[in-house]
């Protein structure tokens, strides 16, 4: 049910391992490519940003879980501090991680759009790693299908929707890859493109998800993110890029 990878004497859960691998690879890529994605951003801050977001996300996920069912912890409040992957609220974690990121940026006076551009390789690596981790775990599975490429999972042949998502994220990553010869984009445009294309992919592919969830709500959130991404892309694309003289449009 929960596949494990055996590395020598160690047994690790495939889901967590693939996500951690994605995080490490993504951070390494972000640091290596920062001179091309975000020439004026202090690369040394990337590791701190990710660490702070990660710790705040975990703390926030646990706090939100406890806050949603305080009566369950009333008799044994110390259990709120026990390590457990089941007592986490993903939405709360995401909110806390984002807030922590913004507070840290404010305190260190880091430029907003260059920061997001510098983190874009990390984001697209995670967008590839997450569906692969889901596939390994059997999470986020697709609807039943008769198509020849259906995979047998949970009692039926299903759309390999996790692979569709990973493939979409890979194509987006290839398009957004900061090539050495390409002109530097205006600050924020690379991130806005990632947001736009990822939201569009989610909106489209959600239709083939088979997990019991509110497809309509997920698609509406994806549509809002798509609108935000397009807005940011449109507003930022005519700003000067870091290598261009101020005032000159791309």
């Amino acid at each position: 049910m929960s596949p494990t990878l055996h590395i020598g004497p160690l047994s690790v859960q495939a889901f967590g391992f693939i996500l951690l691998l994605g995080l490490w690879l993504g951070l390494t890529l972000s640091e290596k490519l920062a001179t091309r994605t975000s020439p004026n951003f202090p690369v040394s801050q990337l590791g701190n940003l990710v660490l702070i977001a990660l710790l705040s996300g975990l703390l926030g996920a646990r706090l939100t879980f406890v806050a949603r069912a305080p009566q369950a912890f009333a008799a044994t409040p110390w259990q709120a501090f026990l390590p457990s992957t089941t007592a986490l609220d993903p939405e709360g974690g995401l909110l806390f991680a984002t807030l922590a990121l913004l507070i840290y940026r404010q305190r260190k006076q880091l430029p907003f759009w260059p920061m997001l551009d510098a983190l874009t390789p990390l984001f697209f690596t995670l967008l590839i790693a997450l569906p692969i981790a889901n596939l390994a775990e059997g999470n986020a599975y697709g609807r039943p299908t008769n198509l020849p490429w259906g995979i047998y999972l949970w009692g039926a042949y299903r759309h390999p929707v996790q692979l569709y998502e990973a493939l979409a994220a890979l194509l987006i990553a290839i398009w957004l890859w900061p090539r050495r010869t390409a002109p530097t984009l205006p600050p924020g445009v690379r991130f806005a493109r990632l947001l736009t294309l990822s939201a569009a992919a989610r909106l489209f592919l959600e239709a083939w998800r088979g997990t019991p969830q509110n497809t309509l709500a997920t698609q509406l959130v994806a549509w809002l993110l798509l609108a935000l991404g397009l807005l940011a892309w449109g507003l930022l694309q005519n700003r000067p890029s870091p290598s261009e003289p101020q005032g000159e449009a791309q």
Binding site: M1, S2, P3, T4, F65, R68, A69, Q71, A72, F73, A75, T76, Q79, A80, L82, S84, T86, A87, G138, R143, P144, W154, G155, A156, A200, L203, F204, E206, A207, W208, G210, T211, P212, Q213, N214, T215, L216, Q219, L220, W223, L226, A227, L230, L231, W233, G234, Q237, N238
Partner: protein
């Protein structure tokens, strides 16, 4: 300026197509519960019939309408031993609200005679079922112990946990499961 105007037109078209796709999805791909049994949240809990320590047969599907925690355990498994007092306490607390625990002993990995002693030593009063042929153990694809499944009143698995259950987390799940219509 012309390319900027074209961008906003394209953006508008993309957003319109996105909305149309949402409408199409609602019509063409409605959310339907799957009736396939699988050991996975969102699926019908695989049915089984096993005997308890007194030899009485217990079938999962006959407990439909109750909230069931299926707990796979073994006497030799330290985390299983550690979580038993919490399971017993929760069982006593919620039993009157239509909650039952089925403690499935993975008997093929046991010296069977140790099971009644273990149950007595821990003062367990919820049904303990024996699985000598690994029927339920393989139907639920158990790879580690303890593993637990919380099954709602409708027979659908709501939660699956590998490893010991946090007592407070179980309480929070039970409070939301109890609000579910049978």
């Amino acid at each position: 300026m012309k390319s900027l105007s074209r961008f906003w037109w394209l953006a508008g078209i993309v957003l319109f197509v996105g909305l149309a796709w949402i409408g199409l999805t609602v019509r063409l791909f409605p959310n339907t519960a799957e009736n396939t049994p699988a050991p996975r949240p969102g699926f019908l809990a695989p049915d089984f019939e096993l005997s308890d320590l007194q030899g009485t047969a217990v079938r999962l599907s006959q407990l439909r309408g109750q909230i069931v925690l299926i707990n796979f355990w073994a006497t030799w498994c330290p985390p299983c031993q550690a979580e038993m007092p919490a399971l017993q306490a929760i069982y006593e607390e919620y039993q009157s609200n239509g909650f039952i625990i089925l403690g499935i002993n993975t008997t093929s990995s046991e010296v069977v005679s140790t099971v009644p002693d273990f149950v007595a030593a821990h003062g367990l009063t919820f049904p303990i079922l024996l699985d000598p042929q690994d029927k339920a153990t393989s139907a639920y694809q158990i790879t580690g112990m303890p593993t637990s499944f919380l099954v709602g009143r409708d027979g659908i698995i709501q939660q699956a946990v590998v490893g010991p259950i946090n007592e407070s987390v179980l309480r929070s799940w039970l409070s939301s499961a109890q609000n579910q219509a049978p």
